[in-house]
């Protein structure tokens, strides 16, 4: 028996824009990333990579180096395993390719121009525009770089290949810092965009 048009329409509308696992992973990742960044700032302050550039202790997490390290090395497990599940499910279901591709430099350029003149619309919340695609893919890769450079700093003796890939122990700290800065930059723009399209926040919470 062929499915009735009504039935198809019902199941279409019942299907969330963001499946529940995407929503869960997204918010757990946001929590882990915020904890990692705030505690990371305190760790950075113990011995600044860039002389003279210190992050105000009041906006950091942990209170002292030991406390910050405890937060950092606890939140890393959430970031790591949650990230594995997100990437694993995205690859296994093919969602990664459906949602973020095709993606062409021309489309990014077009959407960037539209965004700058205030004409980029995000009416169909089930589709990401090219700017969103490139931003999300960038932050996903950035998080992978953060984890790998962090691992190179934490275990520079146990993972020689990773250490050399990062240009040695001291350089891995610079890579880690720059990847953090990119993440913070993404975060600011991301939250502003969500504020401009508040309906998208509902989709990331309720699915619709």
């Amino acid at each position: 028996m062929a499915a009735s048009p009504l039935k198809t329409a019902l199941s279409q509308s019942a299907k969330p824009i963001h499946p529940v696992w995407v929503r869960l992973c997204h918010w757990l990742n946001a929590l882990a990333a915020i904890l990692m960044v705030l505690s990371g700032w305190r760790i950075y302050d113990a011995s600044p990579v860039f002389k003279g550039f210190v992050i105000p202790p009041a906006i950091t997490l942990g209170g002292w180096l030991g406390g910050a390290l405890q937060w950092h090395f606890a939140a890393m497990w959430l970031l790591f395993f949650n990230g594995l599940i997100y990437l694993g499910l995205n690859l296994a279901t093919g969602r990664l390719f459906r949602k973020f591709f095709p993606l062409s430099p021309r489309a990014v350029w077009r959407d960037l121009r539209l965004a700058l003149i205030g004409k980029l619309h995000h009416d169909d919340l089930s589709h990401y525009n090219a700017l969103q695609k490139i931003a999300y893919l960038t932050v996903i890769i950035d998080l992978v770089v953060l984890v790998l450079s962090g691992l190179a700093i934490w275990k520079s003796v146990q993972f020689p290949l990773l250490r050399e890939l990062m240009g040695g122990y001291d350089n891995a700290r610079i890579v880690h810092f720059c990847a953090m800065a990119l993440l913070v930059g993404f975060f600011v723009v991301h939250v502003v965009m969500v504020a401009l399209v508040p309906r998208s926040l509902l989709t990331m919470i309720r699915g619709r």
């Binding site: 915020i34 997490l61 942990g62 180096l65 405890q70 520079s156 146990q158």
Partner: protein, 262 residues
């Protein structure tokens, strides 16, 4: 005796008052600890996220401590006893090598070389006291390795001494025990896992840069482990013991991770 409710947690007769006082004094003596609590409370964003106001700091702290102990086990498992830390050339040495301790350089302990005797205790069957000439006569090894501080900075130094596993063999240590502990002249204390104690680059160090270890780098001896962070490398060692009872360490008892491996 009637007990005022407000203070009942302080004067509960079932609690060991002396112990509480001791703990409280120790905690308060550390300015960083007070900051830890303050910092956690002022963090408004986190308060919003967890919704519990972090008023029960105690449970957050003990949770983080438990994760830290879990991380000890993960690191023990990641530790490859055959993996060597990178070594460097004379030209790459950091000069001057930074002095670092939990006190200023003016408070470095002075240990008298002539009367010094290293005590060895716990699960060992051999010689339990060692003079400096006896220690200097042990097989000699040198290394130029990177010292990585928990704060993030690193420095390359040149150390000379005897491979620690050779020393453990000489004193008839039970190498199936879990820990090796250290007591130091500056009231520092530290302990390490046996696999690290037996690592080829773990060096009982008597020399820096070809000369007798100067006081600021840990005279009469320092345990140098390029596979561990700086604070795990005890200086001014007076006593070494082998044990199966977890001895903790000066910094790890305050919250630094105990394994502290790199």
């Amino acid at each position: 005796m009637p007990v005022k409710k407000r203070n009942s947690f302080l004067i509960n007769p079932e609690l060991d008052r002396a112990q509480i006082l001791k703990d409280a004094t120790r905690e308060l003596a550390l300015p960083t600890r007070r900051l830890f609590l303050k910092g956690a409370v002022t963090l408004g964003g986190l308060t919003m996220l967890t919704g519990c106001g972090l008023s029960d700091n105690q449970s957050v702290e003990s949770f983080l401590m438990r994760v830290s102990r879990l991380n000890d086990r993960v690191q023990g498992w990641l530790f490859d006893p055959n993996r060597l830390a990178p070594t460097y050339s004379e030209a790459e040495l950091t000069r001057p090598f930074p002095f670092n301790a939990f006190y200023g350089v003016e408070d470095v302990p002075e240990v008298d070389a002539a009367s010094f005797v290293l005590k060895v205790g716990g699960l060992v069957t051999g010689k339990r006291s060692w003079t400096l000439p006896e220690l200097y006569a042990l097989p000699h090894a040198e290394q130029i390795t990177r010292h990585i501080c928990v704060e993030g900075w690193s420095a390359i130094g040149h150390w000379g001494g005897t491979p620690f596993r050779e020393f453990l063999r000489q004193v008839g240590a039970d190498t199936s025990a879990k820990y090796v502990g250290f007591k130091c002249a500056d009231d520092y204390y530290e302990s390490i896992d046996m696999p690290t104690a037996l690592h080829a680059q773990t060096l009982l160090t008597f020399q820096y840069d070809g000369k007798t270890l100067p006081p600021e780098y840990g005279f009469p001896m320092k345990l140098r482990m390029p596979t561990k962070l700086g604070y795990k490398n005890p200086k001014h060692i007076m006593e070494i013991y082998v044990t199966n009872t977890f001895p903790g360490g000066y910094w790890s008892d305050q919250g630094y991770n105990w394994f502290g491996g790199s």
